[in-house]
Symmetry: C2
Subunit: 205 residues, 2 copies
């Protein structure tokens, strides 16, 4: 196989990249300077060589402990639990969260053979229980279960909640409701039902 | 910058890949085995190190002369002229073409500073004129100008046609008309005009 075909095949393995997109990417790189090809190759090798899970939260990092966990301006007593590492960025981009994170690395999904033992739940338990164990590190005051709004995400949240119940902390879940900027006409019935159930008093002027 | 951010930035430089797609690709690769990252990196380096323009047609190849030009089952006397190397594949996939190709490497575009001297036109002239020059290699019998159906593509075709006129060969252009599977309702007026002008007698039963 030619080197062009090999590269097109490798691009084609990536999610959302079909045969045509893959060919377009290869020819785009061929038209540009060679240094671009080498730079992308180096970036890939660097990720393969350097990235590992953060020892504290399980997110990806070049270091043993990730930047978020090392940030002294963050409130380490509020832990937001997410399924995947890329969701950390989504929550951080809201600009409204100054706590830390915990990455489970997936969701409970018996049909796919994913049980609790495959998720980073023990890590969460030791973070939450740190105070009781008399460790220097302070335990948590609040755990926000920010798993996805899917059946598996819900099941995972309920499972983790049950494990957390014995600890003296607030356990919360992200609010459900109508997303900003959407037309009611196009919002599904379940979301509207959740939005009704979670409705709030309007502040009086 | 972390190695993850660097890789996301490199992916983000590719056409059609924005910030979100880029992040999704990075995390997809991180979730998979490291060997996938290394394999993509190697494929990129291989392309950077090996690929060069084919000496005959200007298409990309791992070798001095590309596979199409070396294929003895192809008719080297019919040359299909395209703007870019990736268009070779598009025409070949039709399964109806058994001639060879010539890649111009772009189209005439004065506004972008692309004049005839930046295109691989000299190469085409020497291929077409090979017979007259008394070379072993046979000259062309037909040149199909398959530049794109854009203003620049048309201008390029007319320019090349004028250069080819002195040679004793057929000069053709791809037919214009209604694309297969399309509804007339959605076909633009210029295309319909071209399809009317180029209409053909139906074969009688």
């Amino acid at each position: 196989m030619s080197s062009i075909d090999s590269l097109a095949q490798e691009f084609g393995r990536l999610p959302g990249i079909g045969t045509k997109t893959s060919a377009r990417l290869v020819y785009h790189l061929l038209k540009g300077p060679k240094v671009d090809l080498h730079r992308l190759a180096t970036a890939l090798s660097d990720v393969a060589d350097r990235v590992r899970p953060c020892r504290v939260c399980g997110s990806y990092s070049d270091d043993e402990v990730c930047g978020v966990c090392r940030d002294p301006s963050r409130n380490a007593k509020v832990i937001c639990v997410v399924e995947e590492a890329y969701e950390v960025g989504a929550i951080d981009r809201s600009g409204m969260y100054r706590g830390v994170f915990h990455v489970l690395g997936g969701r409970l999904s018996p049909l796919d053979g994913v049980g609790p033992e495959k998720l980073n739940i023990d890590g969460l338990m030791s973070r939450v229980g740190a105070e009781e164990a008399g460790a220097q590190e302070a335990g948590a005051e609040e755990v926000i279960l920010a798993t996805n709004a899917s059946v598996e995400g819900e099941a995972t949240a309920v499972y983790v909640e049950n494990l957390l119940r014995p600890f003296p902390l607030r356990i919360t879940r992200l609010a459900r409701g109508i997303p900003m900027g959407s037309d009611l006409e196009y919002v599904d019935g379940t979301t509207i039902a959740e939005a009704l159930a979670g409705r709030r008093e309007m502040a009086r002027p």
